[in-house]
């Protein structure tokens, strides 16, 4: 499908698990996580986080490392929305996005 990216098994491995092994090996500082909750109004969307397609729907939840993350919501016939969300460690951030019709 247009805009969809293939997720390799390496990419799909939970971020938390990767961080855990990196920490054990002592190759990276401890990574802290926050939770991003995306909610749409006005219709469902194809939700991608950091360039990776997550799901089609009106809500999505992701545990992500603290820091900035890109968010894309798209759907045929609707305005595509690109935004960046900066997560704090231990935070649960709700992002509500209104989908508007308009794209050709």
């Amino acid at each position: 499908m247009e805009g969809e990216r293939l997720v390799t098994s390496r990419q799909a491995r939970p971020l938390r698990q990767r961080a855990y092994y990196r920490n054990r090996l002592g190759t990276a500082p401890a990574v802290q996580f926050g939770v991003l909750v995306v909610r749409t109004t006005g219709g469902w969307a194809r939700i991608s986080v950091d360039g990776v397609f997550r799901r089609e729907g009106s809500s999505h939840r992701d545990s992500l490392p603290a820091g900035p993350h890109t968010l894309r919501l798209e759907r045929a016939g609707y305005v595509t929305i690109d935004t960046t969300v900066t997560l704090q460690a231990g935070e649960t951030r709700l992002v509500t996005i209104a989908m508007r019709q308009g794209n050709p």
């Binding site: 909610r39 219709g43 469902w44 799901r55 089609e56 729907g57 939840r61 709700l94």
Partner: protein, 290 residues
């Protein structure tokens, strides 16, 4: 005496309040679960959403209105998001059997939910139903088996019936059979009644109760004569004489005997079909030797 009456009245009043409160609470539970499950879905807490929405869809908890429809959509979406599409299909087949014209909300729900809707609608239309012969009800109360299992029960009725799952187990009336969630075709038969074949769903943590009202099979007509005349006995019951032109027999397998004092009885087994005219001709009774 006055005091006793006042105390009794107070007890009755408290009892009525408690009973009324319980009923209100029970009535609210399903709708409240529906509202909270809808909220959980909006926050992408799918585990909580599935737990609450599956409780909130109980048809006895409230009307099957817009909130019920939204709850169903969200339940299906959440179950699919959990990677359990077959279970989503079962919920949808159940719902579409209840509400065949339930529309799909294409604005708020994506293609995966639509595909599940379309598949369930097609399956419900394709499955044979002997309409009016069965009443389905669901007991949301006490889950049976593991949370991932449901149960099926054939209600006891006035007519003693035999029921079985097509290609599978026998169902004893009044006894719960624990089953995996899914659609099951049940065949019910009873003496002198037309059989019924219905498909219904078993949902996780819920008991499906089917009450069959099998239609009486139209009787067949038996034409039999004998020489000399004799008594006609069907299934051990005297129903007349061979001089009478036709005897009405309920459909099914019947034991026929023609008997007369001083003669050997004539015995046979007949399979009587509804509306069948069964002609046996003239039976010659053999005299007993004296």
């Amino acid at each position: 005496m006055m005091r006793l009456t006042a105390t009794a009245a107070r007890f009755i009043l408290v009892g009525l309040i408690v009973l009324g409160g319980t009923r209100t609470l029970a009535a609210q539970t399903g709708r409240e679960a529906l509202a909270r499950g809808t909220e959980a879905h909006e926050f992408a807490d799918f585990e909580t959403a599935v737990r609450l929405l599956s409780r909130g869809l109980d048809p006895s908890a409230g009307p099957r209105d817009a909130a019920w429809s939204v709850g169903l959509h969200k339940l299906v979406d959440a179950v699919i998001a959990q990677g359990r599409r077959p279970l989503a299909d079962v919920w949808l087949r159940w719902a579409l059997r209840l509400e065949p014209e339930l529309p799909f909300d294409s604005v708020n729900f994506a293609s995966a939910v639509k595909e599940a809707f379309d598949a369930a609608r097609a399956a419900v239309r394709a499955s044979t139903q002997d309409q009016g012969l069965v009443v389905a009800a669901w007991e949301w109360g006490d889950p049976v088996g593991s949370p991932n299992q449901g149960a099926l029960r054939i209600a006891r009725g006035e007519v003693e019936l035999s029921a079985r799952i097509e290609g599978g187990a026998t169902l004893l009336p009044g006894v719960d059979r624990v089953l995996a969630p899914g659609s099951y075709t049940i065949i019910a038969t009873a003496e002198g009644r037309l059989p019924a074949r219905v498909t219904n769903e078993v949902l996780p943590g819920i008991t499906t109760v089917l009450t069959f009202n099998l239609a009486p099979a139209a009787p067949g007509l038996l034409y039999v004569a004998s020489r000399p005349w004799g008594m006609v006995v069907v299934d051990g019951k005297r129903i007349g004489y061979t001089t009478i032109a036709a005897h009405r027999l309920p459909a099914g397998v019947r034991r026929l005997r023609i008997e007369r004092d001083g003669y050997f009885p004539f015995d046979t087994t007949l399979t009587v079909l509804p509306d069948q005219r069964l002609r046996l001709g003239t039976i010659l009774l053999r005299a007993r030797s004296r």
